[in-house]
């Protein structure tokens, strides 16, 4: 088990290192001189002034020191929790922006991931090898996984916010609301939260249902299932064992699906103008607010790695073989 975690942690360590390096390197590898561009944008006519400006900007952005030192300083400020300052919303630190918007994204992502996983598994397990149900569940699931998040978001917004006007659209709560832990405010929050949540939930539901359905069919073909059947075990019991075995790949699948649903959350927030990280990064991209892009990217990486690690722990808890270092330990 120690070996299992050691391996995982090494992988995550390298991933983090690579991600930070990419995050740092991309602006530096960019063709063109960003500082010259900045000076150029100011439109200074006098050459001497322009040169002086260039030098002071270079100093301010620490561009006048060797590259390896810049890289070192990047790590240093990272460990001090300093991700720079937003250019667009000057002088808000990027960390403040992130801590302001991250709760909204997480409140969408975590329930959507867990619920879709749970419901999808149940639905998929029910549909496997039951012809009637399978013929409806499978096509619907495939269409759901093939749906672009933003399109479903647009459709839901159009249907429920513009045609039937059941749900509000835009922002996390009504502008007229008084912020605070009152019932009215919480209900209002939930109202605004529901449609983006539903989008994420539905799209990822399909994938889990398909995965579980296929796994169950596979497990029902396994030797132990045939043996149980031959012993005269009731169908339900066999399916129960199949379900428990089919669960394991679904748990690891959870880690692999994080990237996709995260991308989904970003675009869903944009459609609903929901003030989470996706909305923030969208604004940063359209305004070329690079520190914010860099910061949010790092935050996403760290979040994904932490989630991966939690899933690893869950896997150890669920699969006893990992604990005694048997073959499942490589999982």
């Amino acid at each position: 088990m120690r070996r299992y975690f050691a391996r995982k942690l090494i992988t995550y360590g390298i991933t983090f290192f690579a991600a930070v390096t990419v995050d740092w390197a991309i602006p530096h590898m960019m063709p063109g001189d960003p500082i010259a561009a900045l000076v150029g944008r100011l439109g200074v006519q006098d050459q001497a002034t322009a040169d002086a400006l260039y030098r002071s900007f270079a100093k301010a952005f620490r561009q006048d020191i060797p590259l390896w030192k810049q890289y070192f300083y990047f790590w240093q400020s990272l460990f001090h929790g300093d991700l720079g300052i937003s250019i667009m919303q000057f002088p808000t630190p990027v960390t403040t922006l992130i801590s302001r918007s991250a709760p909204y994204t997480l409140s969408l992502l975590i329930p959507a991931i867990l619920l879709s996983w749970y419901v999808g598994n149940k639905v998929g397990a029910m549909a496997a090898r039951r012809k009637g149900l399978d013929n409806t569940v499978l096509p619907i699931s495939y269409l759901l996984t093939a749906t672009p998040y933003m399109w479903l978001a647009i459709l839901l917004a159009w249907l429920f916010a513009f045609i039937w006007r059941v749900f509000p659209i835009g922002f996390a709560y009504d502008a007229t609301m008084q912020k605070g832990w009152t019932w009215a405010f919480i209900v209002n929050l939930l109202y605004h939260w529901f449609l983006p949540f539903l989008t994420l939930f539905l799209v990822s539901l399909g994938g889990w249902a398909i995965g579980m359905r296929n796994m169950i069919i596979y497990e029902l073909e396994a030797d132990y299932s045939h043996y149980l059947e031959a012993l005269g075990a009731p169908r339900r019991l066999v399916r129960k064992y199949a379900f428990r075995n089919a669960m394991l790949p679904q748990i690891t699948g959870l880690a692999l699906s994080l990237g996709a649903i995260l991308g989904g959350a970003l675009v869903t927030e944009i459609v609903f103008s929901y003030p989470g990280l996706g909305f923030q990064i969208f604004r940063a991209i359209s305004n070329k607010d690079y520190f914010v892009i860099q910061g949010i990217f790092l935050f996403i990486i760290i979040g994904t790695l932490v989630a991966n690690f939690i899933i690893d722990i869950a896997y150890v808890l669920v699969d006893p073989r990992t604990r005694i270092g048997m073959q499942g330990g490589q999982a």
């Binding site: 933003m150 647009i154 995965g211 692999l256 990237g259 996709a260 969208f282 991209i285 990486i301 999982a331």
Partner: protein, 330 residues
């Protein structure tokens, strides 16, 4: 897991990590397909029984329906633009008009008076381009890494597996987003290269496991003994034995690339000077199509993406059943 799969997994991995084989594409949590395909590759003797395959293929409803959908849209993408009476980006029609035949605006017009039909068929072309190029690049990288790691074993395998796992941990979309926000995408090909070069890891991992299990088979040992070169063994002995699987893998990569491209385009990181389906959705949202109720602007692009990618996945399941007798409906 069956005993066979388990034992291969055990031999394959040694100490390396073998998560499930789930494709990481947004699309496909078609987790066991690799394992099942592995079985297919092992049980069926290559493509020898082609006639039997065709027999089951044309009787497989999923495969046929999926194929019809994809082919329909492919034909639409090829011939559709010839029927467009306007240019996709030209403001030549009455703005915000519902679908009509009178001005040749079969799908209506957008808020600024551009023809939706022209945008749609042009977007379909871009979609197939991104899917095919991005999917191919990812498939090639996945094959190189997967074959090499599975065949060579040892240090090479350790290093390649580590690279694969690291890339797999990175949230694909976030990485592409950051890269393309600094380096503006010039064209569809650039975008497809970005997408292809980051979405290969699950394919590499799946192929590695398969290659490993085939490497220990007699015919491969024979080829080795007879002094064949490694790459020849890989492409003459190993690859043909999983040709069905390679094809299915490409379908999933194709669908995944389309979805990633659509999402990127929607955020505004798509190629400039084009109108892809994702960009249509972006303009529909920013052009307040929702408020104005211009449903013909935002329904077709998303619907097409959903049907094409869904149709591709359907083909994938159907093929899986064709190649793997155990999965055929009884």
């Amino acid at each position: 897991m069956t005993e066979k799969a388990k034992s291969t997994a055990k031999r394959t991995t040694g100490k390396t990590s073998e998560k499930s084989d789930a494709p990481v594409t947004p699309a496909a949590s078609d987790i066991p397909s690799e394992r099942r395909a592995k079985k297919a590759a092992v049980t069926s003797t290559g493509m020898g029984n082609a006639r039997e395959m065709v027999y089951f293929a044309i009787r497989n409803r999923k495969l046929v329906i999926g194929l019809i959908i994809v082919v329909f849209f492919a034909l639409f993408a090829i011939f559709g633009p010839y029927f467009a009476q306007h240019k996709p980006l030209a403001y030549t029609s009455p703005p915000g008009h519902a679908p009509t035949l009178s001005h040749g605006n079969y799908f209506g017009t957008d808020y600024t008076g551009r023809d939706i039909y022209a945008q749609f068929v042009g977007g379909l072309r871009l979609l197939f381009e991104v899917g095919l190029i991005g999917g191919s690049i990812a498939a090639v990288i996945g094959m190189i890494v997967g074959f090499t790691a599975g065949y060579k074993a040892g240090y090479v395998d350790e290093i390649l597996t580590m690279i694969t796992n690291v890339t797999l941990c990175l949230p694909v979309f976030a990485v592409i987003l950051v890269i393309s926000s600094y380096m503006p995408v010039k064209g569809v090909v650039t975008e497809a290269i970005f997408i292809g070069s980051i979405s290969w890891p699950w394919a590499a991992r799946a192929l590695r496991a398969q290659t490993f299990s085939l490497t220990s088979r007699e015919f491969v040992s024979l080829a080795r003994l007879s002094g064949e070169r490694s790459w020849k063994i890989i492409f003459k002995e190993i690859a043909p034995n999983m040709s069905s699987y390679l094809f299915m893998m490409f379908i999933l990569l194709f669908g995944g690339a389309i979805l990633i491209a659509a999402t990127l385009d929607f955020i505004g990181l798509g190629p400039s000077g084009t109108m892809s389906l994702g960009q249509m959705l972006q303009y529909a949202v920013s052009g307040s199509a929702l408020v104005l109720g211009l449903w013909w602007w935002f329904v077709p692009p998303g619907l097409a993406i959903m049907l094409i990618v869904g149709g591709a996945y359907f083909m994938n399941v159907g093929l899986d059943e064709v190649f793997n007798p155990r999965l055929r409906e009884m």
